[in-house]
Amino acid sequence: MSATLVIGAGIAGMQAALDIADAGFTVYLVEKEPSIGGRMAQLDETFPTLDCSSCILTPKMVSVGGHANIELLTYSEVIEVSGEAGRFQVKVRKNPRYIDIDKCTGCGLCAENCRLKGRIDSEFNVGMGKRGAAYLPFPQAVPLKYTIDGEHCLMVQRGKCGKSPPCRDACPSGAIDFDQQAEILELEVASIVVATGFDPFDPLLKPEYGYGVYDNVITGLQFERLSSASGPTYGEIKLDGRQINDVVFIQCVGSRDRNLGNAYCSRVCCMYTAKQAHLVREKLPDAQVSVFYMDIRAFGKGFEEFYDRVRAERVRYRRGNPSEIVKRGERLVVRAEDTLLGQPVEVEADLVVLAVGLVPRADTEAVTQLLSLSRCEDGFLKEAHPKLRPTDTEIEGIFLAGCCQGPKDIPDAVAQAKAAAASAIVVMSQSDSKAISDQE
């Protein structure tokens, strides 16, 4: 029976994999990071239902991890693809974790004892937390196995770590293996689903907001980590003991901005900001919360009603795209024109959250080379037809799912992933029936 390769195990990749696997086909699910889950694992609560993101994600992760038809290849990358629909030849490199995952029990002693513990910026916590070289990206990781980051690990980089690497000494299962090498797997698949996701816009590209200069100007994704129970502050909105009375959100940072080269709308920021404003209101009941916007794009099911709810929770929506943020004493000052007042305004803040948009991943070029795909003007992967074929590519047998094709929220990513799965199933069914009829 045929198989499909799914590249990327965020919510889109996982959903595509699950649908295909549930239908009885084999899936190779390749994920670059040590754990599956993608961006959704980084979120606190999702809009508009305010579901705890991990709570709705982990069942899917667990299903993926335990599915008989899904072969999970984490900490792995696809390095070569050739062939055609029905018969793609794929090479996957399993990067060395320096930990034998068959022996690893997930006890965490290696990370506890790592010489570099607390010294490396945690990618999962978007720089707001630290980790060691031996680490678990987040508590609900699937597979729940530790990884040693070869880029930073002293043993890997320099061949020595003090007298003896404390991780290896501490590990009760003898799972640490610095001799581990990358492994190359060769697979043949009938179809490929690309679900490589997105990166958040880097607000260093908008220096007028003082991101990177003022530590109380953060991105939306960083806010998720602050708000999240599994984050660096265990869910409290706080910054170094600073009292937070005034929070300002700024929409459209890095989106709808031709000056930056991102003319497009990132689709999710209006809603994620509304949700974050709600979370601030919940956790800091007396704070003044303002949102600066150009248009409120609350277009989906339940979105407008959620926007109504958030305003009723005393969140001030002010129309105007702020021009700059400066400091006055200890406070930040957001300078904008309030276009409904028709006047320039200055709003003081203790915390500014930039609603950064979604941009194509930094490695998108590599993906397009790998699979001979094209990119749209906005830099995302190109679909076969923008109206009628949103999940097909120009290459038969290769499909797109999720944000790699363009920004979208979770329900739209899930729907698209299922759509890609259907297409993959069609290819595999046709391939299988052809194989059967060839035999006959």
């Binding site: 709705i56 982990t58 029990t105 009603e305 949103p390 899930v414 299922k418 259907a422 046709q430």
Partner: protein, 571 residues
């Protein structure tokens, strides 16, 4: 031999632990009768959490498992599988909901902890009386029914048929294509819809595995996933009596579409009074005339100098409209403004809006383009329209000028929203679908299950679930197809194990249970005078058990003894 119960109390991060002292609960539960072990862990649903349970089952010989955590709706299936993998019958699992029913609804830590202890004790007590249940599969008919022949239905049909299964498309009207058959061009690419649609229609009509029945309605649906019996009536315009067709299908995709908001419900716009106030869909029809767009047909032979579009008519409106956003109107208006600009190069075109929702791929760029074509966007939701001699006058406030204004128009186009179909109730009754607060059909979970419904084997596609454009409709239709393809591909589907059971000695055949059953699972066996329960149709709702005056019918896994044990354990 007394049962050995393993109890696992979940912290759920801080979701439970913040309000309930989970360690305390585990400690207290360890003292409860029949409890062999009581643990607490930060995330029971995670890999190590599950491992804990499986290890204990093997090492301690547990034969019952209680997980005190979130609602069973979240993880009951997960944990059933966990214990099954460790060798236990999955129905020896009992969930104690100490999140939705405890930590999430209380603030007093002491009281919440006590309550959690009671809930868990009840669960333990019940678990001791749980019985193993059989897991069965049923065959799946390798075909699907598609209700509605618009773009959503057609796309779903194509996907299912391409994968090798039969698809029956049932369409009420004479022709396929639904609403998009009345569109001119798409946004944002401004391509011709008729030619796009023709492509799709051709594929559908020539596909060996797609059957299309137009002029047809589904009048009855019986059965269950894998085996739906569908009665279809076909009545072409010139016929007197309908032809009946019976179909057996494995899955159903609902793609019944939407209706347009009735602009007469907003009398302040004078729709119905002034014939030059029209709706977006009406403009679309005018533009789509087969003999080419003809401006003079819009208004007799008058010249059109001033056109005004008004957004959000009937949407985002708690006062005579609907509170939700109809998602497509900002873009269809931009497209219409664009098209009119091509036809009427010297006219003044104004769009009144509240927010411009150009959120999709290429949308913002198209919005830029339309403004570049000298279409003036003015922020303000007009309050009323009246007539001044030969012109219409639109009264609004331009909120960016901060001043009330009057704009004269020769043509006003109301961007009416999308509403659930008038006959949506018929469909929801037929298929036991739920409706969301906005009136559209309800998906199983708004985030993670956008196409499934509460009825297994019945899926949603397109605007019947909520307003969306063609691109998102197609994606969703394919998603629905994917869900349908799961049972179709497997060829079999697991049936509910928690079903009712009739005690032949107690049953007097009174039939009250059958009256209570909405699934038609109970019938009287004429020969024996005893009720028979169809184990496949039964969904385990328990209504029959409550209705039976003799206690002759019980719901497995929810027997009176089990429920009473839970109550006694809790108090």
């Amino acid at each position: 031999m007394a049962p050995k119960v393993g109890v696992y109390v979940c912290h759920c991060g801080i979701n439970i632990a913040h309000t309930v002292d989970v360690e305390e609960v585990a400690k207290a539960t360890a003292e409860v009768a029949n409890v062999a072990v009581a643990r607490n862990y930060i995330y029971m649903c995670s890999d190590p959490g599950q491992q804990l349970i499986q290890d204990d089952i093997r090492e301690l010989g547990l034969d019952r498992v209680v997980v005190a955590s979130c609602s069973p709706r979240m993880h009951e299936l997960t944990f059933r599988r966990v214990i099954q993998e460790a060798g236990l019958n999955p129905y020896y699992l009992q969930i104690a909901n100490i999140r939705e029913q405890c930590s999430w609804v209380h603030t007093d830590r002491e009281a919440a902890t006590e309550k959690a202890k009671d809930i868990v004790a009840g669960a333990v007590s019940r678990s001791c009386l749980l019985q193993p249940l059989e897991e069965r599969d049923t065959e799946v008919t390798p075909s699907a029914l598609i209700l509605g022949g618009g773009i959503a239905g057609l796309q779903a049909a194509l996907e299912i048929a391409d994968a090798g299964y039969e698809a029956h498309v049932i369409e009420k009207e004479a022709a396929l294509g639904g609403h998009i058959a009345h569109l001119t061009n798409t946004f944002p690419t401004v391509e011709s819809v008729p030619s796009l649609l023709t492509e799709v229609l051709e594929r559908v009509q020539t596909h060996p595995r797609i059957e299309v029945l137009t002029h047809s309605r589904v009048v009855d649906v019986d059965g269950f996933i894998g085996n739906f019996q569908v009665q279809v009536e076909t009545l072409p315009g010139d016929a007197d009596t309908p032809t009946a067709t019976e179909l057996t299908v494995g899955a159903i995709v609902v793609a019944t579409g939407f209706d347009n908001f009735d602009a007469t419900l907003k009398p302040e716009f004078g729709y119905g009074t002034y014939d030059r106030v029209i709706t977006g869909p009406e403009l679309e029809k005018l533009l789509a005339r087969a003999d080419g767009p003809d401006t003079s047909s819009l208004l007799g032979s008058d010249e059109i100098e001033d056109v005004v579009f008004i957004q959000c008519v009937g949407s985002r409106d708690r006062n005579g409209g609907n509170p939700y956003c109809s998602r497509v109107c900002c873009m269809y208006t931009a497209k219409q403004a664009y098209l009119l600009r091509q036809m009427l190069p010297d006219s003044r075109i104004t769009v009144f809006y509240m927010d411009v929702r150009a959120f999709g791929k290429g949308f913002e760029q198209f919005y830029d383009q339309v403004r570049g074509q000298r279409v003036l966007y003015r922020r303000g939701n007009p309050s009323e329209i009246y007539r001044r001699q030969s012109k219409l006058v639109v009264r609004a406030e331009d909120t960016l000028l901060g001043k009330p204004i009057e704009v004269e128009a020769d043509l006003v186009v109301l961007a009416t929203g999308l509403v659930p179909r008038q006959d949506a109730n018929d469909t929801s009754t037929l298929l036991k679908l739920s409706r969301s607060e906005d009136g559209f059909f309800m998906e199983l979970h708004p985030k993670l299950r956008p196409v499934e419904t509460t009825s297994d084997g019945v899926f949603l596609a397109g605007c019947c679930q909520s307003p969306k454009d063609v691109t998102d409709t197609i994606a969703q239709a394919k998603a629905a197809a994917s869900s349908a393809l799961i049972p179709l591909s497997l060829g079999k589907v697991r049936v509910e194990s928690i079903t009712c059971s009739v005690d032949q000695l107690l049953c007097s055949g009174c039939g009250l249970c059958a009256e209570a059953c909405v699934y038609g699972a109970l019938t009287l066996n004429e020969r024996t005078g005893i009720m028979t329960a169809n184990q496949v149709l039964c969904k385990g709702c328990g209504a029959c058990a409550t209705a039976c005056p003799s206690g002759a019918i019980v719901l497995r896994h929810f027997t009176p003894d089990q429920i009473l044990a839970e109550i006694e354990g809790a108090v």
